[in-house]
Symmetry: none
Subunit: 132 residues, 4 copies
Amino acid sequence: MNITLDQAEKIITSAKERAASIDTKMNIAVVDAGANLLAFARMDGAWLGSLDISIKKAKTARFFDMDTGAIGELSQPGGSLYNIEHSNRGLITFPGGIPVKNSSGEIIGAIGVSGSSVENDHDVATAGANAL
Amino acid sequence: MNITLDQAEKIITSAKERAASIDTKMNIAVVDAGANLLAFARMDGAWLGSLDISIKKAKTARFFDMDTGAIGELSQPGGSLYNIEHSNRGLITFPGGIPVKNSSGEIIGAIGVSGSSVENDHDVATAGANAL
Amino acid sequence: MNITLDQAEKIITSAKERAASIDTKMNIAVVDAGANLLAFARMDGAWLGSLDISIKKAKTARFFDMDTGAIGELSQPGGSLYNIEHSNRGLITFPGGIPVKNSSGEIIGAIGVSGSSVENDHDVATAGANAL
Amino acid sequence: MNITLDQAEKIITSAKERAASIDTKMNIAVVDAGANLLAFARMDGAWLGSLDISIKKAKTARFFDMDTGAIGELSQPGGSLYNIEHSNRGLITFPGGIPVKNSSGEIIGAIGVSGSSVENDHDVATAGANAL
């Protein structure tokens, strides 16, 4: 099972609405089951540096089928995955990346959001992932 | 002057409609005036390898404010810009990338399309660029 | 709004003067609103390794529209942005990068300075940013 | 012997004046004897994609102590240096890069110019190199 562009656009629309409702400007990326970029939108005035971070969050979430923040807890100094961020041409392991599931609970892609605090990024990513 | 996300989404919608009407599946990228990705969509079943090509076409068109195919004519063996593709972390210099202008004729970004013949790619990019 | 080359050269001149007055040798980079290099100068005898750092500081400051040191406080082990430096082909998150604003307070680019202690780097970057 | 920042700034000033006098907008880079960037200026409205090209031209000219165009003649298909552009993280081998010599004829750095036809690029680079 793989995510469709139609689904990805629904996700981005929901994420944009949530971002606007909490007064943030986000970069929003959706990757497919192969961790390749499927759809992307950068809201007007959003941080330029969050472009790459949103894509890396989405890829990271699909690479390991878990929220990016969960990996970040393990990649701290002394942690079991210390400096895993060096792999895959750069991971981002703080919150804002979430796997996307279909109605059967299968992971079909992932969303990555960046542009505000990690709490807001995660909030908006959750709104996007829940759009399906 | 810089392109807005709303304008970029209009461009992608028009490009997708044109792609569907000529029975092709495209990767469509829009960059802003700074040549940074603003919006992207990969149609279901489109070539994966065209993801990067579409983004590089959009960037190339904005980097030099001209259609990508015009650069390709000059970058052939013996041409004045031979092997210019080695710059800027990789250019794509065959057709499919077109600058996007506002109603005043100012370049505000660019579109890159990849997924079919270069003629079709250019055709779809043109439809996108003309959406504004 | 985007910074002009004339403005960038005023910034570099002021930064060089401040650097000389505190007996340091600096690499000084200015990027535009799109985070692309606009002007650069490396003072005679300045560290070679600071060339790349000064450019990355300027880009980082524009990527997130804040002083680089503010990001570094959040990217420490256990911090909310831990290892953000892996994004955007490499960030530099210690002091020395500052957004540049026009007289209306709009961010139009950024300056990055490297070549001495981070306190001196920040001091010289501030002198540059205040030249406008 | 190595070029100084003062010399590099004289070179850039002369190149900018020549560029303006022939109605072009250039990216102008100067590297030192170690082929590392020493000074850079992008004229307002100059092509963004020429930023990287101007730096690569300057580096290429110093890497081999000859005009970039001379290398390009040898790097054509069937030529003795075919595809040398793949080395050194990307060379640019069409005209616009020229070694810079001191009054004793020693090579102390190089200039790279990009933003117009290769003939204009070479013309402006020559004006810059002759400023010393």
